[in-house]
Symmetry: C2
Subunit: 478 residues, 2 copies
């Protein structure tokens, strides 16, 4: 057994003058005397004071940034600035060296672009320590929120033979020998010989399977990886990302909006309460970054102010039709500043329109509802007007769509009609239709892109910086 104390505990300790052993990675080593030691348990470093007169020169030379060390000594109140405790080391042992000529992380500010290239080491910086602690806290908060409310966590399948969105762009999964695949008599690939006896893909959503479970447990949620084989090289898209999808039986669109708003507020509040150190760091990081920008491009609110603002205000709820009217009359539309001008009902909203509504017009999160049926999925419930569906998208400042959901079409005949209209094959989804054949009931659900939530709460701007090892076109490193 290896015995050590965590730095997070020591920094909060109030019992002094006792011997402690700590292990961690050297962040800096000043004056041959002061080690800033970090063990990942918190953002703060512990100051370890080396008795350099009684320490081997050979050891002193190996106390470099990035090296792992073990230090034993007295925990004492610190007289120095910037810390309340320190360890007066009686022994320092090198666990693992770090060649200063080769270790890529030096005690200076590195660009996020550079750190992305060394994603396997970037966790050792303050920024990524904070981001991934926050990501952890948000994931835990999601589980806690749903567990407290009696939802059942479902693991829906990753490999699937169905296409939930009816929207292509999926990754194929196969064990066939691609150099020499088995063929059918007419020369096509013979998927009957593939592992699953048919063509399979990586899932784009667990919703359809989630609905099956909701129609038994009443309330369920999924939280797992989903995939899009889209050739998008943007700061908001990933080929592999985590999605959380609750589904509730005996619920309509309003229940769905309430659930989504409650959940978002719960997890943001949880982060504010449980990640104070991390959020303060990210808050200040963002303030520093904004100083580089011209005055008018800076945010009106700091990161923490923005999060608190979200908690203390109701999300604005408007219909798509109302949104179109606002956008039509808006200055950027009148002055033709939008790239895509809004001239009529039915237009799909672009990112520029969503941002205008959220960031300029309402200046708070907005829930848009009741979209035209033609721009939404087949499973969304047709409204009585016959032309809109009971959909909802939640738009967040700086992020755009963070949640997309709907009341589901529970009426078998209408669902089938919509599938015909939208060319969704019914035979492949016979199991899905069974929920409408046997004990159908009103139900609703939504999907939350987890990385977009982490982006929003962390104040980071590139989605590749909030997932450990991002997957995007031409990149599957690590």
């Amino acid at each position: 057994m290896i015995s050590r104390e965590k730095i997070s505990d020591l920094l909060q300790s109030t019992t002094f003058d006792r011997e402690v052993t700590v292990m961690g990675w050297v962040r800096t080593f000043r004056n041959n005397q002061f080690i800033a030691l970090n063990d990942g348990s918190c953002m703060g470093n512990l100051q370890v004071v080396v008795d350099f007169n009684n320490t081997d020169d050979a050891i002193l030379k190996r106390i470099n940034t990035g090296a792992a060390i073990k230090a034993t000594g007295q925990l004492v109140e610190s007289l120095g600035k910037g810390q309340t405790v320190e360890v007066k080391a009686t022994s320092v042992e090198i666990l693992g060296d770090s060649d200063p000529e080769k270790f890529p992380l030096q005690p200076k500010k590195h660009s996020l672009e550079f750190l992305r290239e060394i994603a396997h080491l970037r966790f050792r910086t303050n920024t990524f320590n904070a981001v991934f602690k926050l990501r952890h806290a948000l994931a835990f908060a999601i589980h806690q929120f749903f567990n407290e409310r009696g939802f059942v966590y479902m693991h829906t399948p990753i490999i699937t033979a169905s296409d939930a969105e009816g929207a292509g762009e999926m990754f194929k999964v196969t064990t066939l020998d691609l150099d020499n695949p088995p063929k059918t008599e007419n020369g096509a690939i013979n998927y009957a010989e593939d592992f699953f006896g048919r063509a399979t893909n990586l899932t784009v959503s667990g919703q359809l399977e989630g609905e099956l479970a909701a129609m038994a447990f009443g309330q369920i949620y999924t939280f797992g990886p989903t995939f899009r084989a889209e050739n998008s090289n943007t700061t908001r898209h990933l080929a592999e990302f985590w999605m959380m999808e609750p589904e509730i039986a005996f619920a309509d669109l309003e229940d769905n909006m309430n659930l989504a708003e409650d959940m978002l507020k719960f997890v943001i509040k949880y982060a504010l309460e449980n990640c104070k150190e991390e959020l303060e760091f990210l808050n200040n990081r963002l303030l520093e970054e904004e100083k580089q920008k011209p005055q008018q491009e800076r945010s009106e609110l700091s990161l923490i102010e923005k999060l608190n603002f979200c908690l203390s205000n109701d999300f604005e709820r408007i219909t798509y039709t109302e949104a179109i009217n606002i956008l039509k009359a808006s200055k950027p539309n009148q002055k033709k500043q939008f790239k895509y001008l809004i001239d009529s009902w039915g237009a799909d909203l672009q990112s520029e329109h969503e941002r205008y509504l959220v960031e300029k017009h309402f200046k708070k999160p907005v829930i848009l509802t009741d979209y035209p049926k033609d721009i939404k999925s087949f499973y969304m419930r047709l409204n009585d007007d016959g032309k809109t569906v009971a959909a909802m998208d939640i738009l967040f400042p700086g992020i755009g769509e963070i949640v997309g959901g709907s009341q589901r079409e529970e009426r078998l005949d209408i669902l089938k009609e919509r599938m015909v209209e939208m060319h969704v094959p019914q035979d492949e989804l016979s199991w899905y239709l069974d929920t409408r054949r046997f004990g159908s009931a009103p139900h609703a659900g939504f999907g939350l892109g987890f990385e977009r939530l982490v982006l929003f709460v962390s104040g980071m701007t590139n989605i590749r910086d909030v997932i450990a090892f991002p997957r995007f076109p031409k990149s599957a490193e690590f």
Copy 2:
């Protein structure tokens, strides 16, 4: 907004003679009067008493098993046997019909085999309600255990270009047109044109990436899907399953064993405390099932007794070498009853040997350590004897291996030698070797097959019954 009360709340209610609205699925309807209604919030059904004199015949005929209904009426103390409360309905509305000629679930015992065919509906049975509630509770307990101890939850990549185990049998992931793939000049498939610019697979483990994070945060865990393209049609294997992998820095094999034992006991205790109703049901289900077996094949302990036994006893910890000696001298080896006889050190243990140790010899969970290096992975730490590695497998009764782990080889030179010996390409894992180049430190970790844990705690016997939509050779249904 749709207003209803959950049956779980009503069954525990102590305020009566108030009007309530419930929604759920009809389990049974007796004497044109008594509906057993289930809404998934708990295993128990609520009795809804229909006033059949004042209810339309047309409605009464539609109250069939599987139908979804809404009932409003007075919540009263029940005089009948088997329940403490009931609802005297003043109105019953059919939300969704269920044709009794077609609905596959009838109020009788169905075989697990049959239910597996209709996995999209099996959640509506008591057995699967219990199993998936339990699965939820175990997943939540895992998150709670690690969160309380300051571990960081990492989402390691699903699509990967590396093979963590160096052991083949992976699913390929591609967006190439398989009917007409791009070729290089020498006729091979040109993966440079694939989505990620190289050949990629579905991950078999997040361990290697987990190690990267542990060497920054000190303590991390993963919990996500992993994949094996093995052609195994057994009751213990799946092509897609969930795995939980903690990784701890500044830790050795003993720390690792302690963590695994603490974690397993924590989650089992959590289930016993939070899933009383479900475990009692599964306990009785198993007792019934065992009655069909001859006396000598029945378990000595009931399910709940077995779980409590696990909590109150230390796991037996022995080395591989000790295990070999026990097995060599064992009756089934002497009498040549083992299929694979143990005659010398170095043999890989088979399921029959593991079961003998756990179920016959020690009669409790066993942690086997220090396996021969040749039968274990390259990343396991070489012991001083030069022939064993600091590995550990935890064996559970009825399950076999539930946890596999090791102290990791933190010494760069020895790790590289092991990679050469075991033909693991070093250039592809350069990022992994960086953890040993820069601030290496002793560390350890393990993997827990989540479905095997659910199997053990639920007392189910086929792994396909503890995951919602199992993936196995020739099957990717739903």
